[in-house]
């Protein structure tokens, strides 16, 4: 799996299993965390098998971002638009979470295709809620309407206490990510991956993809941003999004890709390290085998196991020997 998928597989499985076994409803209480920054909680009881409580905790926003009462701007409208009557926002949310939704499975559309579509949309709750402010800006780009924040630097949260920046304009939106990693090896691997973005776009006929660039220092577009938010150890990646990247069905995918960009790079850095470990272990094994070959006893031991031969005894042999006695 190279690309990160928007609907959470685990959540989708919980929902579909619950739906299939409504009459056998069991107690459900599960916590999990996604991409090291968003926590989820699902709870359902046997008393009301149709009701499911889904809680999401969003990463705490750093001071330079705008937020209204714990939820990103535009999130509430996005939830209402995506889920309609199926989900109801509970106020206040459960302890320790930013958002709790009461899902009523009996209010799902009757036909299978639509039902699965709504469940998939519920499993993509991260994209709907966390990606809401980004979605607002990109939708304005798609319809080429003039936003109120035009030409200004907007900070949106995507990881705990970390934000990325948008510079919305009429014809395009520039998205800049300051990339930060904790481990020194992560930083080096990530930097080499990020530098590839520029080269990859030039080759492979990706002319329609957003123009991207990488620079070790903050790019000039970020002049208005507060300096504390501009620290980074793996450079700054900028994408220029044009209306053709956000028209129609592409809008959702663009929102998801951009809001999980850091998680995507981090995931591949970790995969790379795991792969290197596997390679090194294999190499160590082959070297130790070569060393064992230097011992003269090794060859004798190998030959001995190959030359061992056994005579197979069977019942017939036993009976024939008995017969000879009687």
């Amino acid at each position: 799996m190279i690309l990160l998928q928007s609907p959470s597989k685990y959540l989708l499985q919980i929902l579909t299993t619950r739906l299939e076994n409504l009459d056998k409803g069991v107690e459900l209480d599960s916590y999990w965390i996604e991409f090291n920054d968003v926590r989820y909680h699902v709870q359902a009881s046997m008393k009301n098998p149709n009701l499911l409580f889904l809680s999401v905790s969003l990463p705490p926003p750093p001071p330079e971002t705008v937020s209204f009462g714990g939820l990103p701007p535009g999130a509430i409208e996005a939830i209402k638009a995506a889920y309609g009557v199926v989900a109801q926002i509970l106020d206040p949310p459960r302890d320790g979470f930013s958002l709790t939704l009461k899902l009523n499975l009996s209010k799902l559309p009757p036909d299978e295709e639509h039902k699965h579509g709504v469940l998939t949309k519920i499993a993509s709750v991260r994209e709907v809620v966390l990606g809401a402010p980004l979605r607002v800006f990109l939708k304005q780009l798609a319809s080429r309407t003039v936003a109120s924040d035009i030409d200004k630097v907007v900070a949106l949260v995507h990881r705990p206490m970390e934000s990325f920046f948008l510079i919305p304009q009429v014809e395009k939106v520039t998205v800049v990510f300051p990339m930060r990693f904790k481990d020194s090896i992560d930083i080096l691997l990530a930097t080499s991956f990020l530098k590839e973005f520029v080269d990859a776009r030039r080759t492979a006929g990706l002319n329609n993809a957003p123009p991207c660039s990488w620079s070790p220092s903050p790019p000039p577009e970020l002049k208005g941003a507060p300096p504390e938010a501009l620290s980074s150890n793996a450079g700054f990646v900028s994408f220029v999004i044009f209306p053709r990247h956000v028209e129609g069905r592409k809008l959702d995918r663009t929102v998801w890709s951009l809001s999980t960009f850091h998680a995507y790079v981090s995931y591949h850095v970790k995969c790379s390290e795991g792969f290197m470990h596997t390679r090194m272990r294999r190499r160590v094994e082959s070297l130790i085998q070569a060393l064992d070959g230097a011992k003269p006893d090794y060859e004798k031991a190998v030959k001995a196991t190959q030359n061992r031969s056994f005579k197979r005894l069977s019942l017939k042999d036993g009976r024939s020997s008995l017969k000879s006695f009687s």
Binding site: S192, F193, L206, C212, V265
Partner: protein, 170 residues
């Protein structure tokens, strides 16, 4: 051309090792009933032979120190830029941590080098001399190969990651 240089470098090391790997048991002169690898102690100059440094270029070299009962081989591997540097360090540290499994590997490299072997007369009694030299030379080739393959895998994966991400927008 580069392969030829590597061959010459390895042949030179192999010939030096064949000459140097004539080890015999030698009980310690200073402490009764002790038997130590003299090349590590370096206390008695009459037991040590002249050390040899074989340089492939400014960045890569091999130091071979011999004594009456032990032999120490230290390698310095090329590290051109940051990523290669860190891959080399990671790989060689991975190997050194498993020094016990390798028997002839030293847990810490000699000062100024990246990885070291310590071969004693006991190793020579257990293992055939030619095969042991073959192993050391193969080890050096394998280090080179492994590091360049790790580098390649990082670059390939980086290209793939970038391409797949950008393809989503088309």
């Amino acid at each position: 051309m580069a392969a030829n240089m590597l061959r010459l470098y390895l042949t030179c090391i192999r010939n030096t090792l064949e000459a140097a790997m004539c080890l015999q048991n030698f009980p310690c002169q200073e402490v009764e009933r002790h038997n130590k690898p003299e090349v590590e102690l370096k206390t008695s100059p009459e037991l040590l032979l002249n050390s040899v440094v074989i340089c492939r270029n400014e960045a890569e070299k091999c130091l071979i120190e011999t004594s009456i009962n032990s032999l120490r081989i230290s390698l310095k591997v090329k590290q051109a830029y940051e990523l290669e540097n860190i891959l080399t360090k990671k790989f060689l540290r991975f190997l050194s941590m498993r020094a016990e499994a390798f028997q002839v590997l030293r847990r810490k490299p000699v000062q100024g080098y990246d990885i070291s072997f310590l071969i004693t007369n006991y190793h020579c009694e257990e293992m055939q001399k030619q095969r042991l030299i073959d192993f050391i030379v193969q080890f050096m080739e394998d280090i080179d190969k492994e590091i360049s393959e790790l580098k390649l895998s990082v670059n390939t994966r980086g290209r793939l990651v970038a391409t797949e991400f950008l393809k989503q927008f088309i």
